[in-house]
Each structure stands twice: as structure tokens, then as C-alpha cells.
Symmetry: C2
Subunit: 119 residues, 2 copies
């Protein structure tokens, strides 16, 4: 059984950018927080949509069809299979929701690939 | 394809309490916002967990094993099958995530049962 989670507490427990932490589980989905800064790798998730909600700062999701710019309290669902590059010039804190087996770098594994980790 | 969604804009578009509005779709899940006030019906969802994130105000989720009290930036996942009664004496705005077919009153349909509605 999950406990209640305070997003600020969870985010204060780590500093590493682009390394999501799982804070709760919803059926077979993970609820994650991530700190973003600079440019992430361009990738897609062929098997799933991906939910982004900006909690602090700003995040741009670069896509071929156009960029999506998100500030605090703004969310976007990247459709499955759509290449996207998260970019956050000034840093952001973001809530992610996606199937638990989803890997952050999707179809482009690299040194940025993060293992599934809980806070 | 979903658009980017501003939570404040979505919440300002309706007033009716306990009537969730779907603001985005993540695979076969709905992302919803709801305004809560007073006591909702006690119910469970035998087939799914249910995600609550308080955006404004405070929400108590009454359960037999103990109440969970949530303020802004705090989240909780009610496990599938667990009877719960959301209560919000002073009102709250809440982000919900659950499978798209999930009905707000779960296994206790009543006049509070809401149809699936988009903002």
C-alpha cells in the first residue's frame, strides 16, 4: 500500500537531473518526479504515451510537429511513438506518469538511461 | 492528440462539485480535475487503484485503516477494492488519474454518479 506523498519532500531528497524517482504506483503505472536541466536526448516510447506535469520552472518538449512549452501547473501527454526532446534551460521539477516498465530514454538508450528507482 | 493543458484554466471552466472533467488521456487512462466540497459517498473501485493529487485546499480520504489528509502538492493512491470516502470540509481542487472507464461513485452508484465529461 502506498503512503501519502508530499511532492516537495520527494523532490528535496535528491539532486541528480534526468534521473526519475518513483514516488507511487497506480496499477501498473509509476508516478515519478524528475529534475530537468539542459537538453535531454531525443527519443520516443513506441509502446506508450507519457504524461508530463510541470511543478516548478519551465520545460519545453521539442517535437517535429511543434514545441510544447510548459510552466507550473501545465501538463502535456506525449503520444506513443512520437519523438520528443525535453529541454529545460533554467531547470524544472516535473511529475511523470507512465507504465512502470517505461525507461526514460525510450528507444535511444545511452549513458542517460536511468534504472527504476524509488525515492 | 492532446493539447497542453493549464490546470488553472481547466478548473476555472466549471463550478459543479464532485463532477470530474477529463482534461487529457494517457493510453487508456483519464487525467481528470474535480472540485470537492463536503462529503462524497463511500465507495470502492474493485478493478483499479485511484490517484489523487490535491492542487488547492484540503482533502481527507476516510478509510477503515485510517484517514489520509492531503494538502496542496500531496498525493495518495487508493488501492483497488479499498472503501474510501473523500471529504473536503473547506473545498479542494484535485487531480485524478484512473482508467477511462472508471466511474466516480465506483460500486455505489447514486445521484452523485457523473458521466464521463471533457472540459
Amino acid at each position: 500500500m502506498n503512503d501519502a506523498v508530499d511532492l516537495a519532500d520527494a523532490l528535496s531528497s535528491f539532486d541528480e537531473p534526468w534521473a526519475p524517482r518513483t514516488i507511487a504506483v497506480l496499477n501498473d503505472y509509476d508516478v515519478r518526479v524528475v529534475k530537468t536541466t539542459g537538453e535531454f536526448t531525443r527519443h520516443s516510447h513506441p509502446e506508450t504515451d507519457e504524461f508530463f506535469l510541470v511543478l516548478r520552472g519551465s520545460l519545453t518538449i521539442r517535437m517535429e510537429a511543434g514545441d510544447v512549452m510548459l510552466g507550473p501547473g501545465q501538463l502535456y501527454v506525449v503520444p506513443r511513438g512520437v519523438p520528443h526532446q525535453p529541454v529545460s534551460a533554467d531547470g524544472a521539477e516535473v511529475l511523470l506518469i507512465e507504465p512502470s516498465e517505461t525507461v526514460n530514454t525510450g528507444d535511444t538508450p545511452s549513458e542517460l538511461t536511468a534504472e527504476r528507482r524509488h525515492v
